[in-house]
Symmetry: C2
Subunit: 244 residues, 2 copies
């Protein structure tokens, strides 16, 4: 009987790159897309500030086509907001009245690529430290297999998304109804080392170095702040909307 109970536990696994997603794809699993510095933090912030819908797109060309139709558009490549658009991917740029009730299009170096890769999953939700508790409570209630999909940096592993995957795994692993696979175990162990001071833990990470060199330390600190919002953006067809 114990064996049956164990077999029934929902699995948690982690995929460290959108490129690797086909290896982890399976029916019926919830995919949490993670790009904490900064796309998924920006998306959570936009919903917290009242955006109605967001349309994640993979290319700047698609974003430009929407812009020409009159949409508000956020566009970032290589950590820089692209000129001619309304926002980049700094969460601070979405803390504005002008997005309230609007549909905002967004394209970023990594995060929107991960959403694109996972778009046919049973459910695709957006995770960041900003909505972590709300997200985990929802995942626990759903009790489905979970894949934590790290956006990484240009399909390579990165430390900050891994850290967030570990934070989620740490919370979920307190509930007996989940079985941690190897990727989840590894991120949980990492988070246990980092949780006292995630900012310091990321000191030598490549993207923290990149953003710090651009004067974006405040962005990093904000993106590592827990529970600034209860929103859980979820993909419905081509739109990110509030999970209800």
């Amino acid at each position: 009987m114990a064996d049956i109970l164990i077999a029934d536990r929902a699995q948690i696994d982690v995929c460290f790159s959108p490129f690797l997603y086909p290896v982890y794809e399976k029916e019926g699993q919830i995919v949490v897309v993670i790009d904490v510095l900064r796309a998924t933090s920006a998306i959570c912030t936009a919903f917290q500030y009242g955006v109605d819908k967001m349309i994640p797109v993979a290319t700047v060309e698609e974003a430009m086509a929407y812009k020409q139709q009159g949409y508000l558009v956020g566009a970032e490549r290589n950590a820089i907001a692209i000129e001619g658009f309304d926002f980049g991917n700094s969460p601070y740029s979405y803390m504005t009245e002008k997005i309230k009730g609007q549909t905002v299009v967004i394209t970023t170096t990594n995060g929107t690529q991960a959403i694109e890769a996972a778009k046919n999953a049973y459910a695709v939700v957006i995770g960041s430290f900003l909505n972590i508790t709300a997200l985990c409570n929802w995942l626990i209630a759903e009790n489905k297999p979970i894949l934590l999909l790290c956006s990484g940096w240009k399909n390579k592993f990165n430390l900050e998304d891994t850290l967030f995957a570990g934070a989620v795994t740490e919370i979920l692993s307190k509930h007996d109804n989940f079985k941690l696979l190897d990727g989840a175990l590894a991120t949980k162990y990492l988070y246990q080392q980092a949780h006292q001071n995630p900012y310091k833990f990321l000191n030598y990470s490549s993207h923290k170095e990149r953003l710090s060199a651009m004067g974006l330390k405040d962005d990093i600190k904000y993106c590592l702040t827990l529970d600034q919002t209860q929103v859980i953006p979820i993909l419905k067809d081509k739109y990110l909307v509030l999970n209800s």
Copy 2:
């Protein structure tokens, strides 16, 4: 001047799946293929016991063709030695006089796939806990960019190969001439948690569970033993030979 020295440091990175290798491929880097449970441990053991050359092949069909030509052949799938061949991938099966001076063909679920993926790299060497110090000393002397390529399990991340990548990174990071990228940083942090008792650290890992269920705990323990040999198998054309 300090900046120039930092820029000149050779990078260490980790690739967690053969499937992801194309993302990490670059000219001039040494690839260390890692499949500690058990292919690369078996290969190191075979060279320690006097094998002359090994031919890693990706498929059982290729292995069978060599067998029919009279070669000694090791063949494993899903942790089980395939019937009709001379060895599986237990290191113990290679501790025999009969391999001395011979050419042995080998195919395994994961390790030989990783070798195949990396075969065009500047150099491809075989890493395991059994040869870790000899390997690290050689890597330090070479002073080239290093990619630690974890074979994983059927293209998924696994904990034991990650742990070994961390052990290598921990040793190399004591030398200022290396720059650790995010994957290397993560594995180093993991190893720091695990190094007191790697066997226990792997307790919940999927492949340890798999091998333990098959009564292969002795194999696991041996594969986690440091420095049983000085050999560094290296790929030259289609052959693994002793590095000289």
